[in-house]
Symmetry: C2
Subunit: 139 residues, 2 copies
Amino acid sequence: MDVVGLTDDVTTAMRLAGSSGLPGLVVAVGDSFVVVPASQVLRVALPRYVLDDPALARVWDEASADRLAERLTGLRIADLLGALETGTDVPGAVVDGDATAVEVAAVMAAAHIPLVVVVDDGVLVGAVTASSLIAYLSR
Amino acid sequence: MDVVGLTDDVTTAMRLAGSSGLPGLVVAVGDSFVVVPASQVLRVALPRYVLDDPALARVWDEASADRLAERLTGLRIADLLGALETGTDVPGAVVDGDATAVEVAAVMAAAHIPLVVVVDDGVLVGAVTASSLIAYLSR
């Protein structure tokens, strides 16, 4: 699993997120981790008025993928976190290795995040996605 | 892509969501569609106090996967939508076939949803996930 840092640039992070197939970005912040859902990675690239009314996207000057990618150039992960309403104060996206299914579900549901990071004795051992937890629960 | 209806039961829907690998559930509501992120599918299965403080999951009586699955038995999708804070008034999760990348991103970002449904001339033609859009933008 790929983890990005606060000084990494957003386009590199997006490339990782796109290729990992994970539904979000895992960001190392100090000794812990924050998860930014993919939909919120996109948020930072859009003008405020488009977020307020997605219908205005159609009238955005040069409403193209190139224009969107261009807006992300030079931005760092720290800028992305700063631009999100939740900031870096998002509830923990970390569970430990002996967490129950209920604990994992509770963290995802409360934080509205599509994956949590599993850390055991300070070592990152992997991630669990909400989809995979659902598959496990409905087996 | 699998679509569930309001009268389908939540466990069947969870099984679909788990096996589809999609980061959310697509629900047909009247002539339109609503997307429930996987993390919010889990929400309905948890007691309120666990959502308020995920740390309490550990002390939940029988905090097991079985107990969680049991709480979902007999619930319908309509109950799930009713239990979510956003209700069925979630912003549209639908774009049409000629939507630009910016429009798709705007809908995902504004509605905090990990996928949108593509409908052309009233016919459901597929879905776009936020991860795949990010991969496309960072190509």
